[in-house]
Amino acid sequence: MQHLDHDRLVFLALGESEADNGESTHLGTCALCRAEVASLQQVAGLGTETQGLADLPDPPEHVWQGIEAQVRAAEAGPLLTDTRRRRVPEQADTTTAEQTFGAAAESTVTRLDPARRSRRGRGWSGWMATAVTAAAAAAVGVVGTVSVLRPDDPTPTPTPVVVASAPLAAYGATPPTAKGDARVLKDGQLHLHVANLPSVAGYYEVWLINPTTMEMFSVGTLGGGSDALLPLPPNVDLKSYSVVDVSAEQYDNNTRHSGDSLLRGSLTG
């Protein structure tokens, strides 16, 4: 079958010309040409939606600073060196980076081919071995629910001593530049790093919250610096208490959460 000239398909798709009788007849019977016109129409539709996309605003500088810091931390860690040695022989799709490096959704495993699964399996088991020996071994349970938590901290762990981590983001009326990171270290401490917290009349308090039951407990308070190491109870179940919250508190003789959350994030292993 003689297909329509591609030029004609383009102009038909753009509505620039009308199909003549012969063309209409052909389009009526040729799925290939019809599909091509439909694709070109899609492209033209997308084209009309690109207005303004040529001059999008730059991301704020702290985004780049965060990238730099995370990359530096990750590349300094021995785990990553090991990870990067593992070349990927087969071709990767757009998600492989996350499957390799992130706490990616476990559900994606079923889509992986056997080679990739075993490669991933090695990576996880090595890492799991570290985690299992940890004092905060309860955090291991987090791995199983990682797909529904917050799996977007792409660094596996800056160093092997981190068994779970959470990027902390500004909440609500908190200025969006406020942010932080929480890391559960294998010695059972919670490492908090915060930046740009708004100044408050009272003090900052760190909480772990169980999102299912809404039970929570206070881990401690932040000092004046950007980093704090807070001991966790050795038997804490981080699978349940998976949300890290930093609140603004008053010296008001009220030990409950003030309701004024500044930062929050979900731990993932």
């Binding site: 591609h6 997308l46 690109t50 071709q91 980076a97 901290d153 792409p154 983001a169 999102p211």
Partner: protein
Amino acid sequence: MTALRQEPDPPVDDLDRRFRAGDDVALREAYDRYGRAVLHLATSMLANRSDAEDVTQATFVAAWLGRDTFDPAKGSLIGWLLGIGRRKVIDRMRASARETRVVETVRQLPEPAQTQPDPDRVVDRLVIADELARLPDDQRRMLELAFYDDLTHQQIATVTGVPLGTVKSHIRRGMASLKRRWEVDGAAPGPRPAGISGTR
């Protein structure tokens, strides 16, 4: 050298290759070039600006640490970055839905539900915009007049003073490039018709 070429070759650009190879400055270059697109994808989908910035950051970190898995032969760097960003956006939306329950209870301040655009559509749009920006000037100008100003080819010829046949030729070639790029880097799932080759 006075000979002018009607359509200069696109500038030699080996950023994709250098990114894959881990070149020292390639991450910054990629960010300078595509950070805006990734952030746009994230802000289009996520109500919380801070979440969008986090996703942008996480996308570039994951891409850099996972650069071994990027194959420039299979698609462009921006297409690959947007693919990672798209997944991270979706993950974040799921996480937010979960966290919202926590914080609502803590703060008693429910956030209004947002109607979300389709992430695939946003990605496709950004891919097409990127390709449009790479087209030779003439092709881009003609297509912008057709897309944004909704001019017919005859009107474009009148406005620009370019002969109608040349207008049509630019548009035809530009459309072919956009479509090829979309087929390689677009996000929309499902098979696409192979199309009819040999359009150049």
